[in-house]
């Protein structure tokens, strides 16, 4: 059947297709090169180089018949390089910069911002009048004979730029006190003179021209047109400095070498909480994996018992926590565990008269997060255990039982040693997952309650990943550079875990007869 279908469906005149294909490859490559250029212009040199490499590889692989096999692997590799590998490398690179809320721009952009700043030149101040014809306003700037009259505009508080032109006679103007009432709206008006100078409102009764605050000198120094001070770019900190040495925002991001790492390792106010968070991350991941594994295995063993009835029903109910989207379950628990309005404390109060401080006591908060994670995670372990338990030969257990071993002994001596090796890679995967279980921490506690006396807000339920998330995006002034440095530390740890998993997987694969 299949062979017949193949013969009728696939007659492809090769030569024609090739020309068409080559055309598509050429167009796509050109589009790719355009992207490279744009990225390079943006200052994303690293990304531009990567995309350039991918475009060249793409053009080669898809135009030459001898690279045919590589065509299948190209999409996957390109996706991984672009969206997995590159961002991680770039994050770590940022760890060596001072990229942060204060140093957000590139040098060129920071210079542009300063150069586009303007000051009102009070020396050019000139009085004005306002005329109003049916809600259409005109600004009149009187001169010795006649004056300059603007185009009509609606004075509705939105910013407007209107040209003005010379006229011979003054129009009918409004009383000054009515004009003063409109001063807020007038502040949004910009006038363009015929010689293209721009005027803005500079006081209650006057308009004045604006000029740039800084002039760019040939050596990169910015000279103030107001008081003649010089701003010198300091590439070691990513700021302009004035003559007194004070930094002037906005800053740009520069490479600062190992400063972030020195900061992490040398200042006690951040090293102490980092160590505490690291210890908790490991403890949290370990507790989560071991408790879910033990619970899952126990439930699977019970469900596997031949004398048990209603198995499908139990199974369905037991995996329910796994099938509800995690973000919903976590938020439900956030509500249930709420110290003041939560159901859990209501019940505990009614039954035992206690209301634990789930949200403010560090150890209770940690207990809570582990409880929630066990609730979320045991069904996965249970499902896996059920699969692995089935592969344990029944006669091994029978033989042991005939020798007089109790069911507990059978379990620990026969069953567990048989399922543990294939289970190990999955346990390590689960450890790695929980090591970076950001969704749980961010939705349940956001790391709170915070530890006292730290330089950077650090919570007692923070794991390393949520700690960097908070440094970058929540409450420490977007210190991306610092977070990048901590990410490198996490990266090294995950690499160790991943390698351990790799070894475990190899062993499991070797121990299993290949199908």
């Amino acid at each position: 059947m299949t062979e017949i279908a193949l013969k009728t469906d696939v007659p492809a005149p090769r030569a024609n297709l090739n020309w068409l294909g080559l055309g598509v490859v050429a167009v796509a490559s050109l589009a790719g090169l355009y992207c490279v250029w744009v990225l390079y212009a943006l200052g994303q040199t690293l990304l531009a180089a990567l995309v350039l490499g991918l475009v060249v590889a793409f053009a080669l692989i898809f135009s030459q018949q001898r690279f045919y096999a590589s065509r299948f692997i190209f999409p996957g590799i390109a996706t991984l390089l672009l969206f997995s590998a590159f961002p991680v490398v770039y994050t770590i690179y940022l760890g060596f910069t001072n990229y942060s809320f204060l140093n957000l721009l590139t040098y060129e952009r920071a210079r542009e911002v300063l150069l586009s700043r303007t000051v009102v030149d009070l020396a050019t101040e000139r009085p004005f009048n306002l005329s109003n014809t049916d809600g259409q306003y005109r600004v009149f700037l009187p001169a010795e004979a006649g004056g300059l009259l603007s185009e009509p505009f609606a004075l509705d508080g939105n910013p407007v730029t209107v040209p003005v032109a010379a006229v011979d006679a003054a129009p009918e103007v409004m009383a000054m006190r009515d004009v003063i009432k409109l001063r807020e709206q007038l502040g949004k008006v910009t006038l363009t003179l015929p010689d293209s100078t721009t005027l803005v409102s500079s006081g209650l009764r006057a308009f004045a021209s604006i000029r740039p605050e800084f002039e760019l000198q040939s050596d990169g120094v910015l000279l103030s047109t107001v008081d003649g001070t010089k701003l010198t770019p300091d590439q070691s900190v990513g700021f302009y400095r004035d003559e007194a040495g004070k930094t002037v925002p906005p800053g740009w991001s520069v490479n600062i070498g190992l400063q972030n790492f020195q900061y992490v390792f040398n200042s006690a106010g951040i090293r102490q909480p980092m160590l505490a968070i690291f210890a908790w991350t490991v403890a949290f991941a370990f507790l989560s994996v071991s408790i879910t594994f033990a619970l899952g295995l126990l439930l699977a063993t019970i469900l596997q018992w031949p004398h048990l009835r209603f198995k499908p029903l139990y199974r369905l109910l037991l995996i329910l926590p796994y099938s509800v989207p995690a973000f919903i379950s976590i938020l439900i628990f956030k509500g249930l565990f709420n110290q003041n309005f939560g159901e859990i404390n209501l019940i505990l109060k009614a039954l035992f008269g206690v209301a634990p401080d789930w949200n403010t006591d560090p150890w209770l908060a940690r207990t809570m997060i582990v409880i929630v994670n066990v609730w979320l995670g045991y069904p996965y372990m249970m499902l896996l255990s059920m699969g692995f338990l089935q592969s344990v030969p029944e006669d091994h257990k029978k033989a042991a039982a005939l020798e007089g071993a109790g069911s507990l002994t059978v379990f620990f001596k026969i069953t567990l040693p048989q399922i543990l090796p294939p289970f190990l890679p999955l346990l390590i995967s689960s450890f790695a997952f929980n090591f970076n279980n950001l969704v749980l921490v961010l939705l349940l506690t956001r790391g709170l309650p915070d530890m006292p006396g730290t330089l950077v807000p650090a919570g007692s339920t923070d794991i390393l990943g949520s700690f960097t998330y908070r440094i970058s995006f929540l409450d420490s002034g977007q210190r991306f550079g610092l977070a990048g440095a901590i990410t490198l530390i996490i990266f090294v740890l995950v690499t160790v875990i991943a390698y351990a998993n790799f070894v475990a997987m190899r062993r499991a694969a070797a121990g299993r007869p290949t199908p």
């Binding site: 279908a5 943006l42 991984l80 961002p87 973000f327 995006f473």
Partner: protein, 296 residues
């Protein structure tokens, strides 16, 4: 099984059922409470598990309808739940289609196409899949912040940026599908080869039709994974009308504006469809996970 006295067995059965029932009762508690709260008046947890005066207020609000209480006060919906739901589904569907396409082709390559460095690439892939995308959040933010200057389509607050990031989640699915392709009888593609089919044609006309159920499972899995994502969406999406349901739902439980009842209804509404889809797919999911992880 081993001979056991019937009296012993009876006790064991009782213990097993008792344990399971108590355990399930504890596990189910959050669900029961949430259903009860969604039908209860007000936004605080007072009252019994069976509401004394059930109201559909929270359900109206969750569905985006204004609700008029008995005393005439009109309550507008606090958050655009349906819009967030739509955003989530849009992003998840588009990204999952991309993931399915890339992972099918890659899995086929790893399973059947011979090329140099295949084993090394497979090992790399296995290690890479343990590195979460959340490690790269800062770079992702920086990159898309920059790209936004060129085209808002790939900037902060664009759904396309998020979709592009989710494409990196292919690794796990490549493993799942590769495990499946490995189990396809090699005689099938040899037959196709003898008939002159190129590897691409073998994939298109032999493997693809065979793998449709497995591809559907990969689609569902990646769909659910994306719906559940919080960190990436929360960093890349900012405007209220652009949020996904996972990011938006968090607003309900703000200490300053605690909308417990409204949250309960919205949670059931957005959680139920995904739960049902998941329950239908879970049988395949677990075999895929354990096979994919262990087969070398």
């Amino acid at each position: 099984m081993i001979v056991e006295s019937s009296r012993d067995l009876w006790w064991k059965k009782l213990a097993a059922h008792g344990f399971l029932i108590v355990f399930i009762a504890i596990i189910m508690f959050p669900f029961l409470v949430v259903v009860s709260i969604s039908l209860r008046e007000g936004n605080f947890s007072t009252g019994s598990l069976l509401p004394d005066r059930p109201t559909l207020e929270h359900w109206y609000l969750a569905l985006g309808q204004t609700f008029t209480r008995d005393d005439g006060t009109v309550v507008p919906p606090p958050y655009p739940v349906m819009l967030w739901m739509f955003n989530s589904i849009k992003v998840a569907v588009i990204a999952s289609i991309g993931i399915v396409a890339i992972s099918t082709i890659s899995a086929y390559a790893f399973s059947r196409v011979k090329f140099r460095g295949r084993a090394g690439l497979l090992d790399t892939l296995f290690i890479v899949q343990l590195f979460p995308t959340t490690l790269a959040l800062i770079a992702l933010y920086a990159i898309f912040d920059g790209l936004g200057d060129v085209t808002p389509l790939l900037g902060i607050d664009s759904h396309w940026s998020v979709i592009v990031v989710y494409l990196s989640w292919v690794t796990l699915h490549i493993w799942t599908l590769k495990g499946y392709f490995d189990s396809v009888d090699p005689a099938l593609d040899r037959a196709a080869q003898i008939d002159g089919a190129t590897p691409w044609q073998t994939l298109r006309y032999v493997f693809l039709p065979l793998a449709v159920p497995m591809i559907a499972v990969v689609f569902v899995l990646s769909f659910i994974g994306i719906i559940n994502d919080y960190p990436i969406a929360s960093v890349l999406l900012r405007a209220p009308e652009n949020l996904t349901i996972a990011v938006g739902s968090r607003f309900y439980l703000n200490e300053k504006l605690y909308l417990w009842g409204d949250f309960a209804a919205a949670a059931i509404l957005s959680g139920l469809p995904i739960t049902i889809v998941f329950l239908m797919a879970q049988r395949y999911l677990v075999s895929g996970l354990s096979d994919g992880g262990v087969k070398g």
